[in-house]
Amino acid sequence: MRIALFLTCLGDALHPEVGRATVTLLERLGHEVVFPTDQTCCGQMHINTGYQREALPLVRHHVATFEPYDVIVAPSGSCVGCVRHQHAMVARGAHDERLAERADAVAGRTYELSELLVDVLGVEDVGAYYPHRVTYHPTCHSLRMLRVADKPLRLLRHVRGMTLLELPESDQCCGFGGTFALKNADTSTAMLADKMRNVLSTGAEVATAGDASCLMHIGGGLSRLRSGTRTVHLAEILAST
């Protein structure tokens, strides 16, 4: 299958390893990956902070960039959530019904990584080997906007050599929330502290998730604590052999 990779702005600029892992993984499963180089950002930060007008050109650009592709994947639950639930809303807010329809069509062909693997490609065992103690944090947008449910866990359970440790209070938000982490930094830190306590209580070496942004938050906290536990994106675990 020919799959277009939407890496997200954060992935491109700060976490290229997540993009490389996604390419490795999908190619190993026998698929062709293309990277539409015009892509930039889905506009989630603008939309969620209230800058709908500024988000409109980003939505228009994203739709135009990905319209030619039949299957689009992003290793990010929140960006897929934005594409699926907010792009058409922004277009309609600007009274551009045509754009809204096009956005809905692109959204219908856009999948989060675990959705693509399990629902579209029909694989749960991707042939990975990762000899570490790992705990999984289901990020809020994967969990509640996309309802990926246990798909990431099903993929992780097939990884050889890995010990999967259950994360207590896993469905609690890590406190990132985009600009929330800046605007309400103290509350965000309190939420992060509890998330880290739960992660550390598992004894895991690695905390994983399907969102680079939440991992940046949790990982930034764990690093500040010199905790010895690191964060690794789900795609990287699934790509390792």
């Binding site: 702005c9 209230g50 800058y51 988000a55 650009h61 807010g93 947008h141 982490a181 830190t189 990982g219």
Partner: protein
């Protein structure tokens, strides 16, 4: 198209606006370890109970859909239902008063109490009367109001403000309650212990005296059935029922959104409410009263229908769903922000996720501009809400309203400039790639640590407690170009 019908709730009266922004007010609460412990424990217990009883029903999702549909249908013809309610209440011997805002409602209630000659009233726990600051208005007129709900009593005696819709004293523990009782209850047993039973008995003795003495009671209403002119209050302790039956005069203050067309609609809500709020299958005390019945219960009944910003909310197609709220408090108990800050940080009688959308809607967003941002948009509130209010979408919409208000300023904020710049950069792949190159200068910042430990404002809020990732030596698109030769 929506027409602007109403006016926002007036300033300077009632409790819909805080005097500090949310992040500012939250700071103190976050540092209070006792408060954090009390809240964490209480919300976790209620969350667990709720999840268990909701899990028992295999038609829970259908019930939620029904609740949501009933609310939407009712709101669409609210005027007709309210007129019907007025008609039926009047036909059964009650008197209906319409109050445009907090000031009018307070004036009406004060006058009604004064006409009875009473100088004190007993009160059933009511959000509406807290919203309008009725107790303060009565006090100014020389009338003492006694709260009779146990938690509300604790708050009142403690000279405190409620911090939860359902459990107003959630921020207090037993030891603190004992101290308040010893300090504030006349004639309390000095040997009082912090045992729940002992505390409840002390409160009971204190309240009994007031119930028997009171000539006037003031209540809120969870529902008003238009069809029969019946008002309902659901509660757990039975104290409300004492107020509703013993006094000679009963005055009910009800927000106009609380009307339901028929008894059949109640069937849905009386299933949704107790399970969502207290985690119980059925409500312990559900009291309903219709007009006046000669020789039985209060002989004078007044219903005050309160707008106070509601018709303004109603005029907004998406925003009006906030009025569907049945004040169950489920969204508070699942909200990670509320769990850490408690209710006082919201500065309004409506705290938590629903407060973060309802308060700014009632007051106009500029009077509560920090509240729509008091959420990480994790979505737990939407999942918990028994009437499926899409709180995250409402938050985003209110943020947009606030930003649009800010656009009218002569000088744009630093944030607005940054957002406009980011939009300009990111709507062009060429500009975006150039910006990525520029950000690589950031690599110098954390050269030694491999992680960045300090960033300039506003990003310093991030590095106050978290390291930031160092920009990589090569972006993905550069890697792709190198490996795969440019275009896809």
């Amino acid at each position: 198209m929506s027409t602007f019908l109403g006016i926002p709730a007036p300033r300077g009266v009632g409790h819909l606006r805080g005097d500090r922004s949310f992040p500012d007010a939250a700071r103190g609460a976050l540092a209070d370890s006792q408060l954090r412990r009390n809240l964490g424990h209480a919300t976790r217990v209620i969350r667990g109970k709720r999840a268990a009883v909701v899990g028992e029903l295999d038609d829970w999702e259908q019930l939620r859909l029904a609740g949501s549909a009933l609310k939407a249908a009712t709101m669409a013809r609210l005027d007709e239902h309210l007129e019907r309610l007025e008609q039926e209440v009047t036909a059964r011997g009650g008197t209906v008063h319409w109050a445009r805002d907090a000031n009018e409602a307070n004036a009406i209630v004060t006058r009604l109490v004064q006409e009875t000659g009473a100088s004190e009233v007993v009160k059933v726990k009511s959000m509406a009367t807290q919203e309008i600051g009725l107790n303060e208005a009565l006090e100014a007129a020389g009338i003492e109001a006694h709260e009779t709900d146990l938690a509300e009593l604790i708050v009142q005696l403690g000279g405190d403000l409620p911090s939860h819709i359902l459990v107003p004293a959630i921020h207090r523990n037993r030891a603190e309650i004992r101290e308040i009782f010893l300090r504030e209850m006349p004639g309390v047993d000095p040997e009082l212990t912090a045992e729940p039973r002992k505390l409840a008995m002390a409160a009971r003795a204190h309240l009994r005296e007031r119930f028997l003495r009171a000539k006037v009671a003031i209540s809120g209403a969870n529902f008003g059935v238009a069809d029969t002119g019946t008002l309902l209050v659901v509660e757990s302790e039975g104290n409300g029922r004492m107020c509703l039956t013993l006094p000679e005069t009963l005055i009910t203050v009800m927000g106009i959104e609380k009307v339901v067309p028929t008894w059949q609609d109640l069937e849905v809500f009386l299933q949704l409410l107790p399970r969502s709020s207290t985690g119980e299958r059925m409500n312990p005390y559900t009291s309903a009263w219709t007009g006046v019945t000669p020789g039985d219960g209060p002989q004078a009944f007044h219903l005050v229908l309160l707008d106070n910003g509601r018709t303004a909310v109603l005029g907004d197609d998406l925003g009006r769903s906030a009025l569907h709220c049945i004040k169950c408090s489920a969204c508070l108990n699942v909200c990670p922000v509320y769990e850490r800050t408690g209710g006082h940080a919201y500065g309004s009688v409506y705290p938590g996720p629903i407060g973060a959308v309802l308060s700014p809607q009632l007051t106009g967003v500029e009077d509560n501009a920090s509240l729509p941002y008091a959420s990480s948009l994790c979505g737990a509130c939407f999942d918990a809400c028994p009437v499926r209010i899409d709180i995250p979408s409402l938050l985003v919409k209110l943020r947009a309203q606030h930003v649009d208000e800010q656009r009218k300023r002569a000088v744009p904020s630093a944030e607005a400039i940054a957002m406009a710049a980011a939009s300009w950069v990111m709507s062009s792949p060429r500009r975006f790639a150039a910006a990525e190159k520029g950000s690589r200068a950031g690599r110098l910042l954390g050269r030694r640590a491999g992680r960045i430990r300090t960033l300039p404002p506003p990003l310093s809020a991030w590095t106050a407690s978290r390291d930031a990732p160092r920009p990589p030596s090569e972006t993905f698109r550069e890697w792709w170009a190198r490996e795969r030769g440019g275009d896809s």
